[in-house]
Structure formats: C-alpha cells, structure tokens
Amino acid sequence: MKSNVMKMVDRRDGKLAMAHFYVAFIALAIGGLAGLLQTLVRSGKFVLPAGIGYYQILTVHGVVLGLVLTTFFIMGFQLAAVSKTAGTLTKRQRTIAWIGFWLMTIGTLMAATMILLNKASVLYTFYAPLQAHALYYIGLTLVIVGSWFDGAAIVIAYIAWRKANPGQPSPLLTFMSLVNTLLWIVATIGVAATVLLQLLPWSLGLVDRVDVLVSRTLFWYFGHPLVYFWLLPAYMAWYVVIPKVIGGKIFSDSLARMSFILFLLFSIPVGFHHQLTEPGIDPAWKFLQVILTFLVVIPSLMTAFSLFATFESYGRSKGAKGLFGWLKVLPWNDARFTVPFIGMLSFIPAGAGGMVNASHQLNQVIHNTIWVTGHFHLTLATAVILTFFGITYWLVPHLTGRTLTKAMNKLAIIQAVFWATGMTFMSGAMHAAGLLGAPRRSSFSEYGGAAQAAEWIPYQVAQAIGGSILFIGIILMVYIFINLAFFAPKGEEEFPVGEAADEAEKTPMVFENWKLWLGITVILILFAYTIPFIDMIENAPIGSKGYKLW
C-alpha cells in the first residue's frame, strides 16, 4: 500500500479539488475585504460609502468565510486526500462530487445575491424572528445539500476501498476524511431541519409564525460540530502530513484514529453551551451538555501529545540534545511546516479561551461580547486557516503540476508572520475589550457618551490596526494561490503522507466499526437532547411573526 510515495492525484480528481479551491480563495478575498471594512468602521474613523450597511458586510464576512471558504476548502482537500490514499475516484464518485460542487456554487451565488440586495442582513446565524428573503435560505440549503453530495462521494469511495481490501484498516487520511464527513452529515441534519421545516415555509408566507427557541436549538445542534468540521481537516494535516514534511513518523496510527472517533462522539451533543444564558432551557440539561463539551479535552490532549512527540522523536533522531534541543533542528524555513506550526501555537491560548466560553458560569462574563469573536479568530481564523494555507502550498502545485518555488516559500512564511502579527493585535484587543463588556456584532457606537463605552474605543482602534495587517496577509495569500494555480514553474510537488512509527503494530479493526460509533453518537445525542427538546415543544409560547429590521 505504501509503495508509490510520489503517486500523483489523478488529473481529473485534481480538477475537481481545484474547482473547490477557486471558490474558496475568491471567498477569502471577498470575506477578508469585508472583515477589513468592519474593523475600520468600528474604529469610529471610517464610514461605509454608498449606503452599504455595517450588518450587510458583517453578513458577507460570516457567510463567505465561515460557511463558503471552509466548506469548499475542506471538501476539496478531503476529496484529494481520498483520491491520493484510497485510489482515484470512479467516474460515478467523481460525477456525484461535481454535482455537489455545482449545487454549492449555485447556492452560494443565490445567498450572496440576496445579501448584496440587502434582503438578508441577518448574519450567518440567521436567528429568527429576523426574517430574510426565502432565496437566502434556499441558497444556504443548496450549499448544505451540495456538501452532502461531496460527502457521499467520500463515503462511497471508502466503502469501495474496504470491499476491495477486506480485513484491512483503511488508509489513515481516508479514514479521517470519512470521520469528518460523517460528523458533518449528522450535524447538518439540525440546520437543514430548521431551515426546511421552519424558516423556509415561514419566509414564503406558508406559515405565519415560527418557534424561536426550537430554531435556535436546532441551529446550535449544528453550530458546535461545525467548528470541529473546520478543525478536523487541520488535524489531518497535523497528524499525517506534517510528520512527513519534517521527515519524521506519525507517533501512532491507532491513537490518531481513536482521537478522531472521540471528536465524532463528543462534538455534537453539546450545543447548549452556546445557549447557556437563554431562557426556556433547564439549567441541569445545560450542565450535562457542558460536561459533554469538556470531554473533547481528551482527544485534544492526545493530539497535542502526538504532535510534540513526533517533533521531539524526529529531533532526537537527528542527534538533538537537551530538553528542548530538538526544536532547533525542525525545518523552520519550510513553509509547509512553519505556517501550520504557528497555527498550532495559536491553538494553545485559543483552547484556554474556549474553556472559559463553555464553562457553566464563566460564560456569563463574556457571552456575546467581542471576546467570543477574538476566540474564534484564534481557532478558525488562525489555527485552522494557517493550516489550510500550509496545505495549499503543496496541494495546489501538486494538483496543477507545478512546484512551490523558493521565492514563494519565503513569501508564504512572510505571509504567516503578517497573519500572526495582525491577529495578535486584533484578537488580543478583542479579548481585552470583551472582558470590559464590549459587545460583538455591533457597529461603532458611543452608547450615548457612556464612560464605559469610551474605554472600549482604543481597543477598537487596535483591532483596526490588526485588521489592516491581516488584510495585507490576505493579499499575499491570494497572490501565492494565483501563482501556484497558474504561473509557478511546471514540476512535481509531493503530496506528503506520513507513515506510522508503530507500523509493526496492527491497527485494531474496531475503529472501522461504524455501526458501533454512529450508534454511540446517536445515543449520546438522544440522551442530551430528547427530554429538553420535548420540554421546549410542550411548553412553547406562541410563535413569532417575521421582522425585517435592517
């Protein structure tokens, strides 16, 4: 299975993955510009031209980066990873994935049009009873349904590999892509339910009223696993790709699989920790979901251990001495390693902040303050996105038959330095202002000249400085992507896939037992949600009519 190390991803599969990446990087450029404008507006020194609303560009930013960039990049990466490790997709699998791509693209265009027409300034969380145009909901639905087609291609490819290789554990990258796809399918059922059964009929005028709490609960059933759907592809690169890039080994194949399974189990029945300060949910059920939330600490600690064990083992094999001597021999001038490594470092404060957010009581101090925005700009917008950039630097030239030149490699590292610097300013200032009470998702305001609000403004200026530095980072990234896709010299760039250090030890087949893992996933979800959900429906107040308040 591991003979053809330099085996290239099939051209036709490469084209499929690249189609996803084109949309993802267009999204990065547009969403990044929106982000820059937001930080400038919030500094109080800039007003949007031509009657564009702050909440309109905020909706653009959230939808285009949180939903479009991520879903397209992840599906493109996973399809390429499956094609590389489980074999070229069949014609049928590839057709299904192309249908998925086009559904997602059409859906994105529909939602984007409605946002630009100012018919959908409801942010990417679209909380009822704010009511967007029906085409916005239909567009987002198509994005989700399209992603199911992409996911179906991955599931079918996995099943075909297992049939062709009975009794064998699936290739690690294929296994991980499958786990993340299953996680995504189970999670998106929630958002699909609220959009199709509640919001769409209501926005079309077929029903008059909507149950707000049920809608929010279904959204957050999806909203938290969404962040793990973003994170797991980064973990795929950390576990499997990075060891190969530095010339080391994967610490343990079995433990990597186990941590992915644990993420599948513990990332879904936890949505209440986003609803801790809401009425209508019994606090005991909130607490239960807080406990389940914290169980992801286990696979997170396993991941941290594995990564640094790989780094240290590699360093020592190169003769590094002392407690931290191995740090010196890591390939710091290789962007494929250094850029994701900066992402890994940002995950340390990001994880600590996440523990505050999910805590039953501490959450109340920072709930819906800009601290939360600062938090997910460390997790998604630094740890995850820098890893995605790190993947781009080898995957795009691999797929386009080009190479990452020395100059581009250097620029990529400079890009990451800009990113880390900008984010330190922006996210740091957001965390600090949040602790003082500054709300998230709010345009510039002096709140009637209140002294407390005046304290927030210097932090908002710092956010604008950070945002401007980040935008330079976005320009650099888009430039590197265009170079790698169209202009870099022809050649063969490696798709790095690591081998396990414990190769001799057979990976237990229990990890491939999906009846077991999906069964436990469903049981945990039913356990965490059934009773509070019945309570919500039985004790529901009269529903809400729609409002368009923008």
Partner: protein, 159 residues
C-alpha cells in the same frame, strides 16, 4: 493498542485536572446556586405591555421575597424601557426582562448580568449591586439596523 507511558501520565494528569475543574463548576451550580439565567416562564410577546409585571417597567420594592427589589425591563427594537434607572447600593435585586419583537441581548457592562431575551420567554437574574456608579446596558445580540444604538443605564446610588 499500545499507549506510551508518557502519554498515559499526560492523559491521567489531564483527566484529573478536568475532573477537578468540572467538580468546581458542578458544586458552584448545584450547591452554591450559581446557575446561568434559565427562567422557564413564558409570555405572549404581542401582549407584553398589558402583562404583569411588564405593564409597569422600572424598579419596584417587594416584601416577603428573597430579594428586596424587582427591576423590570421591556426590550424592543431599538430601545429598553426604562431608558435609565436608579438602584440603591447594596440592594438585592431580581432583574426581570423580556422582548416584544426579535431576540435582544441584556448585558450590564462591568457586571455578571448577561442574558438573552427571546420572544415568548421571560429572563430573570438575581444580583446585588454592591458598587456605586453608572452601569451601561447594551444589546449584545444582533437585532437590526439600530442594534448598536440600543442602550439603557443603571445608576447605583448610595442608599
């Protein structure tokens, strides 16, 4: 499946600290009563103005309860009623609030009062104002074009 000795130590250490952490949260929640605002009472959002106690927003002294005052707020796009209120320092207050239209936030900056107001539900939080001064109330859940103009003020004055 083999787990390295150091990894075992690392995981046992991590799990122990997690257990201690969750126990602290649990004791705080169920023994000390520090639960997040989770009021289960409902209301017709279209009849807020005629439903007690929201027909008379503001501060009201109460007798025979665990708290001395009830502080009632009604939120709607894009303001709070009352727009400003004085509360005596040291008073034990139950804040009671709801919304007449969309979801709003109710955050008193610089305090632990932070709760969601959702149409059809009443939100409550008990607190003691033990620091004098002006505290800004902001809406921290997006509610429309005027979201960032939605504000009120609590003045804690010496009793």
């Amino acid at each position: 499946m083999h787990i390295h000795k150091y990894e075992k130590i690392w995981l046992i250490f991590g799990l122990t600290t997690l257990l201690v952490f969750l126990s602290v949260l649990g004791v705080s929640a169920f023994y000390l009563g520090n639960q997040p605002p989770s009021c289960l009472a409902t209301i017709n959002p279209e009849k807020v103005d005629t439903t007690k106690p929201f027909n008379k927003p503001g501060l009201k002294k109460v007798e025979g309860k665990d708290w001395d005052y009830e502080l009632v707020f009604v939120a709607s796009a894009f303001n709070y009623n009352p727009g400003e209120i004085e509360v005596p320092k040291g008073a034990k207050v139950k804040v009671i609030a709801t919304t007449k239209d969309v979801i709003h936030g109710f955050e008193v900056a610089g305090t632990n009062i932070n709760m969601m107001l959702e149409p059809g539900f009443i939100s409550e939080f008990e607190t003691t104002f033990d620091k004098a001064g002006e505290f800004l109330i902001v809406c921290n859940e997006y509610c429309g074009a005027g979201h960032h103009m939605m504000t009120s003020k609590i003045k804690v004055v010496e009793a």
